[in-house]
């Protein structure tokens, strides 16, 4: 497959790809000059809201959409002009698209048959795929006799059976209920490890992306906002969009007072407090910046007389089971969301209207680009 082991080419290389849907008056740019590489044997997720271009990109990798500009490479080979049936890439479709008139076995064997594999191989390979998804006893059923979760697994087996180099998954879990979805996450991750096939997974569900992926590309408006591991993206979001889309974020205004090599010092607009934040981006003194902090990193305590304290009033309390979410309106009118774990020694419960002090650990603050 790839003889040059010292410089293995990425599984998929997306080279300045642009997609424009032509229209007489309003051409739509679905993807705007994006480039990145997906490594061999990686569980890679394209995450973003609907309309961000993630599905378009997946369909372009699968060969279902043409490329307006740029190139898509598979292990260093340009596949941009190949038809879907010429690409060693298979897809798990959003609504499964199982062939209704075929049995489970025939569905899974379909790709192998079209590839002209010999009968004996088709039989053993199909059976081992059904074994892998624990559906062997359903081989003779028709798709409409299966539950949603079972159909989902058959769709997965059907796409894996021809042993593709890359597997594309187009929001495959969105039609399942919560419990099943959580179980399938584990299973997908497991199957990816077992088969060693590169998975490209499309979802708008950030939790799904965070729990399964080796790396995530966060997309919006046809552009890639950030690529990184789950921790990178949650803990070090590069901009407002990523901070808000992945989890919840409090964004505070601040002004730079000093910029060093590895950190910047800024004055928070809310209370004039001075904070020092690690950041390798150099800023000009006096520049207005946004700093972000996750709700669970914020501590809420008794009202403080200290000059730098952020004081406010509890505006709303939502009980979420494992934790409680508090909305605090600061004295300057800014609103902050905090989360507290409902541990056994949580102390006296807070009530709406209570005056509180908000403590922000400096090391949990992040500088955001606009």
């Amino acid at each position: 497959m790839n003889t040059n082991k010292s410089f293995p080419s990425p599984a998929i290389d997306i080279v300045s790809v642009t997609k424009i849907y032509p229209h007489r008056t309003h051409p739509v740019t679905a993807l705007n000059d994006i480039s990145f590489a997906i490594k061999d044997n990686e569980f890679f997720t394209l995450l973003g809201p609907s309309g961000c271009g993630k599905t378009t990109l997946l369909r372009m990798i699968g060969g279902f959409e043409g490329i307006t500009k740029g190139q898509i490479q598979l292990y260093g080979e340009d596949i941009s002009t190949l038809q879907p049936n010429q690409r060693p890439i298979n897809t798990v479709f959003q609504q499964y698209a199982l062939f209704p008139h075929f049995t489970v076995f025939e569905n899974v064997a379909f790709g192998l048959k079209r590839l002209g594999r010999d009968q004996a191989f088709i039989k053993t390979q199909t059976e081992s795929m059904l074994e892998l998804i624990r559906m062997a006893e359903f081989a003779d059923r028709k798709p409409n006799q299966l539950s949603g979760g079972q159909q989902q697994r058959v769709a997965l087996a059907r796409a894996l059976a021809p042993q593709p180099k890359v597997l594309l998954l187009d929001e495959p879990l969105s039609a399942l209920d919560l419990k099943l979805r959580q179980a399938m996450r584990e299973e997908l991750k497991d199957i990816q490890k077992k088969t060693g096939i590169t998975f490209i997974f499309v979802t708008h569900d950030q939790e799904e992306a965070l729990t399964m992926s080796d790396r995530i590309a966060v997309m919006s408006n046809g552009e890639v906002q950030q690529i990184g591991t789950a921790t990178d993206i949650y803990d070090h979001p590069v901009n407002h969009f990523v901070a808000n889309f992945i989890g919840e974020a409090n964004i505070l205004k601040a002004k730079v007072s000093k910029s060093d090599k590895n950190s910047i010092t800024a004055i928070l607009a809310a209370n004039g407090g001075k904070v020092t934040i690690t950041s390798d981006v150099s800023m000009k003194k006096g520049q207005n910046i946004s700093v972000m902090i996750r709700p669970e990193r914020i501590q809420i305590g008794k009202i403080s007389r200290a000059k730098s304290a952020l004081n406010g009033v509890i505006q709303g309390i939502s009980y979420l089971g494992t934790d409680t979410q508090l909305q605090v309106i600061l004295d300057d009118g800014e609103s902050i969301i905090a989360r507290q774990q409902n541990s056994i020694d949580a102390g006296t419960p807070l009530n709406k209207g209570d005056k509180v002090s908000v403590t922000i650990p400096q090391h949990a603050l992040r500088v955001l680009a606009d």
Partner: protein, 316 residues
């Protein structure tokens, strides 16, 4: 309602039962118009035909109310000119039936070969323009069938525009004899019944999930393989409906065979028509021919339904 009453136990069962029976009674009342239509338009006419086929012909037209198997005898057996010879099989009418079946089958096949791609084309146009294409398909049907068939006759006759054009272009030296041939009948049937093939297939393809075609292509299927293995099996109900809707009226058609086929190419429709036309008609014989045709079609449909059931059961 029933669910709310149920937990109270025994009396609930009673209440439950009464309620159901009221609903049932009303349901029958609501079904009355449907039963009336089926009775008036289907059962009574067919029974009338069945009765007539067992009566004796009145030579002044109409029937004499007297039981007789003569009409059926006339169809199947030849007893000589004066009816006194030992019976031998009468091939004339069986021949007409055979020819009609072949013609109807060919019309069905041609309608499918042209109708399927047409329907596929229309169903894959953008939503907005589909209505326009369907309208185009149905435009000729705003004109009476008789007039359309006669115009077809003018088009294909020896000194019609097609032959004239071919002659003047020097492509042929003699006019092609198209009128009064099996070809002319085919053309007429095809032209008459094409929309009956296009419309049901279109309805099926429109409901077809094109993600299945993408899935097939994704799994290394060529376009033709996708068409034969996925698309056609998925839209089969529409294809079968179209085939039945073309085959059955083609079998009984009389306008196209009469006007385009000439006397040599007699078909069942013309045979039946003849028996009921004018004073010389033989009503019992016409009714008997119709009943025989009806029986054959029923047998074909029954076999089809059984095959269909067996296939559906196979999956369970």
């Amino acid at each position: 309602m029933a669910g709310i009453i149920k937990p109270t136990g025994k009396p609930a069962k009673l209440a439950d039962g009464t309620q159901t029976s009221i609903v049932d009674g009303r349901q029958h009342l609501l079904l009355l118009p449907a039963w009336l239509i089926i009775g008036v338009l289907l059962v009574i006419p067919v029974l009338l035909m069945l009765t007539y086929s067992f009566l004796v012909q009145d030579f002044r037209g109409g029937v004499i109310w007297e039981f007789s198997l003569e009409a059926y005898d006339q169809f199947f057996f030849d007893r000589g000119l004066f009816g006194d010879e030992p019976p031998s099989i009468e091939w004339t009418y069986i021949g007409i039936f055979w020819r009609s079946f072949v013609q109807a089958l060919l019309a069905m096949i041609f309608c499918f070969l042209i109708g399927f791609p047409t329907a596929y084309f229309i169903a894959t146009r953008p939503q907005k323009s589909r209505a326009f294409w369907l309208f185009l398909v149905t435009i000729p049907y705003w004109v009476n069938l008789l007039i359309r068939t006669v115009s077809m006759k003018f088009l294909i006759r020896d000194n019609g525009p097609i032959n004239t054009w071919l002659l003047s272009g020097g492509i042929i030296d003699e006019p092609i004899g198209m009128i009064n041939t099996g070809f002319a009948i085919q053309l007429g049937l095809f032209y008459s019944y094409l929309p009956f093939m296009v419309l049901p297939i279109y309805a099926s393809i429109e409901r077809y999930n094109f993600a299945l075609s993408e899935a097939a292509a994704d799994l290394y299927s060529s376009r033709w393989m996708t068409l034969f293995k996925i698309v056609i099996p998925s839209v089969r109900p529409g294809i079968i409906a179209g085939c039945i809707l073309v085959f059955i009226p083609s079998l009984g058609a009389f306008l196209a065979p009469d006007l385009l086929g000439g006397a040599k190419n007699f078909m069942i429709g013309s045979l039946v028509e003849e028996q009921f036309k004018g004073q010389a008609g033989d009503w019992p014989f016409g009714a008997a021919v119709s009943m025989i045709l009806l029986s054959i079609i029923m047998v074909i449909l029954l076999f089809y339904a059984r095959a269909q059931n067996r296939q559906n059961d196979g999956g369970h």
